[in-house]
């Protein structure tokens, strides 16, 4: 295994789904259900059984719109406000209207949702305004349940293939993708009528403070390949400057407390043990207050559970140490830290791009369509803000159904054979060198530069230095990188995605000359929100081989937001009582 082999084969399909994590399996499943005759292929860099953000399951739904607890209108309003108004509401409203059907469908797959003694859904309040959090008692089984459905519907699964570049037809339509086997370096051309990108967040962008390249909040496989592929295919990317930054346990990539421990009475505290934020729901505004407290004399910040009864802590541990990040208990054991005894130190994560938690993603409309005909996207990488796991499932379903209908009306587009030859040359170039820089060193340097220059607070001159230094790394990637086996080749291709995402992050951050979304886009030399000039999306795209950015108007709201409600998320800091 791992030696580099020659090889090129070609297959054809109606719907090609790239990424087998959360949105991808649902997209493939729904496409096949809607049209059983369609040829649906699910391509995955790892193995669909255990890939993506929910490789080990998920503790619950963060954004369930359950009848009787919330309405699609309320949810759409909350997310619009949480995202500082920059929100096309149609995709959010569509998600909110459809997600309860998806909950019931997941239930039919065997995934349970917590109910009260009366048989009602046990929905918790974590957000600033409404109640949307619903625990999943057997959340560790979610991948297995999905996999069973894929097998039943006979979706064709190709594991250990990494997509590297999308293919487009002469008229700009999507025509398929080029992929490389991560264990043999053999190429596969997948011609397709439609492609759905579901490759997750760009989570390997910043370097975790531990210095361990793989200790990222997001699954470390999520290197932003989809962002890079969409960019090179000419698709628009929305609000890339609205980074993802998360509050985590210091040195461990486990999320803090908002959704699991919060409803039991745990909270985020400063070193004095006092609350300083009104609401633990993850928003840029909340992260700004978190950052301020970290930097203040009352820092650092802690997760406080030691005021809770030991049995309550046990209940919390039973979730936190079992699902999503099950090695968490071991981390605390090593450190000798126990939630019952002391507050647990927290910190902010490295930066990433992600719409699942914030709003940086490939631009999509309410049918999950990107700006490239035939190209769809769903999940963490598509621009529906704060859409989380249930958003990935729901928008994946929307994408799969629309794509398979579209595929029924069109032929498989032709592509330029020279594009494949050029891509093979690009991919294999580092394997032709006997000497040079290995991908892990290039990656370390690129991500260290992201931390030094691109993470907020954002300073114009620093961003520009960062761009120049990252260009030097790219020059090394193009001319001096050496790769010795096919596993390293996968890493090399991931570094290429990481550099593309870093370039986009810097470019988009410089484009928006205001501050918005709290810490996510805190530009020190433009400290105010500027509604007059910047109440709009920024859309980044590749034109004539160069990166460009333009403004795009926010679509008129479907659910009106009252003037008095607009800044609800700006009031995160607990006010001092007299």
């Amino acid at each position: 295994m791992d030696e580099i082999k020659q090889g090129l084969s070609e297959i054809e399909c109606d719907v090609l789904v790239i990424g087998g994590g959360t949105a991808g399996p649902m997209a493939a499943y729904k496409a096949k259900r809607r049209n059983p005759k369609a040829r649906v292929v699910l391509l995955e860099k790892a193995n669909v059984k255990r890939s993506g953000a929910i490789a080990m399951g998920m503790d619950g739904l963060n954004n369930a719109v359950v009848p009787g607890f919330a309405t699609p209108e309320q949810y759409t309003k909350e997310i619009t406000i949480a995202n500082d108004g920059i929100c096309d509401q149609a995709p959010v409203y569509k998600y909110a209207s459809r997600c309860f059907d998806v909950i019931q469908e997941l239930d039919s797959f065997g995934i349970k949702f917590q109910k009260t003694e009366n048989g009602d859904f046990d929905v918790k309040k974590v957000h600033h305004l409404g109640s949307y959090v619903l625990p999943m008692p057997n959340g560790e089984t979610v991948k297995k349940a999905l996999y069973r459905q894929l097998r039943r519907e006979k979706v064709l699964i190709s594991n250990r293939y990494m997509a590297t570049r999308l293919l487009t037809a002469k008229d700009g339509r999507i025509a398929g993708v080029i992929a490389v086997n991560t264990r043999s370096a053999e190429f596969l051309v997948l011609r397709a009528k439609t492609v759905i990108l579901c490759t997750g967040a760009a989570g390997r962008l910043g370097l975790p403070q531990s210095g361990y390249l793989w200790g990222t909040y997001e699954n470390a496989t999520n290197s932003g390949d989809g962002y890079a592929m969409a960019y090179h295919a000419g698709a628009g990317l929305a609000n890339i400057e609205c980074y993802q930054i998360n509050p985590l346990i210091k040195d461990y990539n486990g999320p803090a407390c908002a959704y699991v421990a919060g409803p039991f009475g745990a909270y985020t505290a400063n070193s004095e043990g006092n609350r300083f934020i009104e609401c633990d729901y993850w928003s840029g505004q909340m992260m700004q207050e978190f950052y301020n407290e970290l930097q203040s004399g009352k820092g650092p910040v802690f997760l406080k559970l030691n005021h809770l009864h030991s049995d309550t802590v046990g209940q919390i541990e039973a979730v936190l140490h079992k699902v999503e990040r099950p090695s968490r208990g071991r981390f605390h054991e090593n450190r000798g830290t126990n939630y019952r005894e002391k507050m647990i130190e927290m910190h902010i994560s490295e930066i990433g791009l992600c719409s699942g938690h914030s709003a940086s993603g490939v631009f999509v409309d309410e049918f999950a369509r990107t700006t490239v005909t035939g190209l769809y996207s769903a999940g963490d990488m598509a621009s529906v803000p704060h859409n989380y796991m249930l958003g990935a499932f729901t928008n994946g379903a929307v994408a799969g159904e629309h794509a398979v209908d579209f595929a029924a009306e069109v032929d498989v587009p032709d592509y330029d054979r020279d594009d494949v030859v050029r891509e093979q040359e690009r991919v294999l170039a580092p394997t032709q060198r006997d000497d040079g820089i290995p991908p892990n060193q290039l990656e370390y340097k690129a991500r260290r530069l992201v931390n030094d220059y691109l993470q907020p607070p954002k300073v114009t001159a620093k961003m520009q230095i960062g761009q120049a230094r990252l260009a030097e790394v790219r020059d090394d990637l193009d001319n001096a990188m050496v790769v010795r086996d096919s596993h390293e080749l996968m890493r090399a291709l991931e570094v290429s995605s990481i550099l593309d995402c870093a370039d986009m992050a810097a470019y988009a951050s410089l484009f928006r000359t205001e501050s918005r979304w709290g810490l996510y886009h805190n530009r020190v030399d433009y400290p105010e929100k500027n509604e007059e000039d910047w109440f709009c999306h920024s859309i980044l795209s590749k034109r004539d081989g160069r990166m460009t950015a333009e403004k795009r108007a926010v679509e008129p709201y479907l659910v009106p937001i009252d003037e008095s409600e607009r800044d609800a998320y700006d009031r995160q800091r607990i006010r001092q009582h007299a």
Binding site: A55, M56, R183, Y212, D435, V482, H487
Partner: protein, 77 residues
């Protein structure tokens, strides 16, 4: 310039006595999202070849004989 190896203590440990990779089992290698495990040509047992671990635990959870242990990588401990 020659390429040197930097020594590292790896987080995933396999108990060779319990591991049945030599009987044809490849579960841990198959499920690892980062694809860092391999079967040794020398011993026929699974081992961590690349120190690129997200300590996510499918390898340990899915191992049919309980041979795999995931430790927290040293830099995070």
């Amino acid at each position: 310039m020659p390429i040197a190896y930097a020594p590292t203590t790896v987080p995933v440990v396999v108990d060779d006595v319990k591991c049945i990779a030599d009987k044809g089992c490849t579960v841990c290698v198959d499920v690892c999202p980062l694809d860092v495990l391999r079967i040794s040509d020398l011993t026929g047992k699974a081992y961590m070849k690349y120190d690129e671990c997200w300590y996510c635990m499918p390898c340990e959870t899915d191992c049919p004989t309980g041979a795999v242990t995931v430790n927290i990588p040293y830099l995070l401990r």
